[in-house]
Symmetry: D2
Subunit: 245 residues, 4 copies
């Protein structure tokens, strides 16, 4: 187990280039806001964005990634199916995946969940209070019983995902909804964490509690050294079948 995994932050990186208000909040892109925090925690951080060749997610780039963070919103459909196949394979082999906010609708998250990943939403800058419901989970390390986001986009239930293997956070929204905001899943040898907070027009990825959770999730999701699994034809039984003859 390593406390300093190699992390790659994938960001769609379109909003920040097109909208002055968003650029003012994230001048180098949301990925750099997250990256600077993770570097300060001692991690080795790479970034990749949609408009790079192969979206920056070549075999080599994924091969040196312990945990991949994913943020996308406006251009999910532009992500090539080949890259989605590649990321899915790597997750099943053991790479961690942390999906943020509007990444719930990314091809890779929908592929790994098998459901629509749909939800309700509203964007009026209401208050969100995120409660810890699994205080023994490593992703909750260093938090209080809850933390608040002063102005957030609302995401509301029903959130169409498989029942999480562990539910870590539940959000309360001022407007009356609740949401399963921190969800752990295992797929193959890989670990996946969905984390709701984050938005292009609110400074959420500058908030210490949010960054702390992302760091915790990256460490939790990194490969943990379990067995390589093998599949296929096993013509020879492990035990003799001549019992009782």
């Amino acid at each position: 187990m390593t406390n300093t995994p190699r992390v790659t932050i994938w960001n769609e990186f379109r909003h920040e280039k097109r909208n002055a208000k968003i650029a003012a909040i994230y001048p180098d892109g949301m990925h750099e806001a997250i990256a600077s925090h993770l570097r300060a925690e001692g991690m080795t951080v790479a970034t990749a964005t949609l408009d790079e060749p192969e979206h920056g997610l070549t075999e080599e780039a994924l091969g040196r990634t312990d945990t991949l963070i994913w943020w996308g919103h406006t251009a999910h459909d532009e992500v090539s199916d080949g890259v989605v196949d590649r990321v899915q394979s790597r997750v099943l082999e053991g790479m961690g995946l942390v999906v943020l906010h509007s990444g719930h609708f990314s091809k890779i998250f929908k592929r790994l969940m098998g459901t629509s990943c749909d939800l309700k939403w509203r964007e009026v800058g209401e208050k969100e209070r995120i409660w810890v419901v699994a205080p023994g989970h490593p992703i909750a390390a260093g938090l209080g019983e809850y933390f608040e986001i002063p102005a957030a986009e609302m995401y509301g239930e029903y959130f169409d995902i498989p029942e999480p293997d562990t539910l870590v956070f539940v959000s309360w929204f001022q407007g009356g909804e609740v949401f399963r905001s921190g969800c752990c899943f295992h797929r193959g040898r890989g670990k996946i964490f969905y984390f709701r907070p984050g938005h292009e027009t609110y400074p959420i990825y500058h908030q210490p509690e949010v960054l702390k959770v992302i760091g915790n999730a990256v460490r939790w999701a990194a490969p943990s050294g379990g067995p390589e699994v093998k599949f296929g034809h096993r013509p020879e039984p492990l035990e003799s079948l001549r019992v009782g003859e």
Copy 2:
């Protein structure tokens, strides 16, 4: 599978006898408010209360019970350990158990959970909105996406229970908390459902959605005909061990 299980409703039945305001809401006790609904759904309903001999929960009474409903609040400690042992045994053998509201602190629920079952609470009559997060579960049958309780006691996280096998409801409270309000557990051959709503001074057990959920839970929790399990010494292997000799 039966749609008309035999149900026994256990009520502490102290509040209703001592407090005129409560007696006005539940003149025959909370158990009779629930019983009349379940009878209307075609179930065979018995009731039992704390001050009866053996609290009304004799071997015979439990022996003819498919699902037991439990409401207690002010006198958990007066329930005898022998009766708790008996109810626990019956649950492990397959009897369903539906624990309501302040029953979270009953001896039988704490026994079956293995945790403190503690929580936060506040009693100012605030609004509660109960969201369905498992729309495919039979306990959610006949509901909308959410229902509201106009004035409720607040129960807040962290709720110290094992992670539910299925989480069916999450509550939003006006005062800012959330709560896992509908929780399924399997213990031995028995099924357990914890359901948060209900209070002695609010007319919650007259509300149609609450009664509908209780009826659904009784049917879901009733024995489903699985194998009797056997334990202990099995000196004879099922297979010959003389392999390879």
Copy 3:
């Protein structure tokens, strides 16, 4: 809750037409062996096969199906993606799905699981003993603590599926492997059961315990009447946001 759901049995139906030995075991196809049992249990049964138009799974056919059973093996790739999309949508809306044996590699199962669904296998006719590990689950109704299949194809772990919401059966194989043989999943409003036994050259779908489990699974997976879920933009909060002004 209905005890007599409308079931559609989908069978690839190629082996039975091409191989005399298989045809001798299942003269009308595996689907008819299963269908005759389910009809005897009072269900309304339709069948559908790969070589029918739209593989027999039109909108209309699926619209009158409570639970769909799926058997495929040699021609998974011939199932059209459009039909897979349609079945997936229906499952998320609430239709049950029971996937049998080599159906683990079907497009629809892999789509709903999000994993490779790969496993180990061997075909030497060894003994399988299927243990009930969830005796309180309705799918185990009417069984003993275990049942045996005298000659079976082996499927071995690691089985690359998400962790089941409930694990009902674990298989012991004579050759030394184990397998999670009965696995429940919830996806959207739909319930999915994977059941390992079954093979084209063994008379497994004539065995009473196997047929009993399939019947139980069909009833468990059928829609249970929970809320229709809605997604998308909710511009109006349920609660006023003018708090504290």
Copy 4:
């Protein structure tokens, strides 16, 4: 997160003192066989045994324990209820607990599970093969797809425990049974791992794979720094309730 937790190994330590054959395998007790391995992994290790005052589990001893390992067999009833209360409280507060083999019937494990924890057993020295079914879990680190114990006591299903939060291992036994051999549970802030292998008359706690799993489990179960939880009356809402007035 620490990779070198402080561990206390509790051993009943009666068999080793009374039986020459057992003493030959574990001359300093089973606890010392385990301790020497964990020390070699860099952990700070204390031991405690039944016949010490307070069974060696004083407030102070538990206060400096990150993970407690438990082995008991012949004298479960001699463990005082006060010590069981104390250990349960510490687990709910966050201390890890690793329960070994016949510890399934210890007071503390039954208390935390809420079930009988009963099972089938046979002692003829048959072969056990332990399969990894959660290859992404940290407790499986450093293992192959399975490992074997040449001569073991059999434990068979049905094992009367709550459904594990994660099932890591499933055992195959030569005599025809299966068993859920590695089971993770969360209770309060604490993590619990039940691990089946181990017996007083077989040299199982000298086997490298078994020791590796115990070390992994100790690290996984150690406190992970999540929030302290608070319970009780919260008279002041977090949000103003004067909405809409």
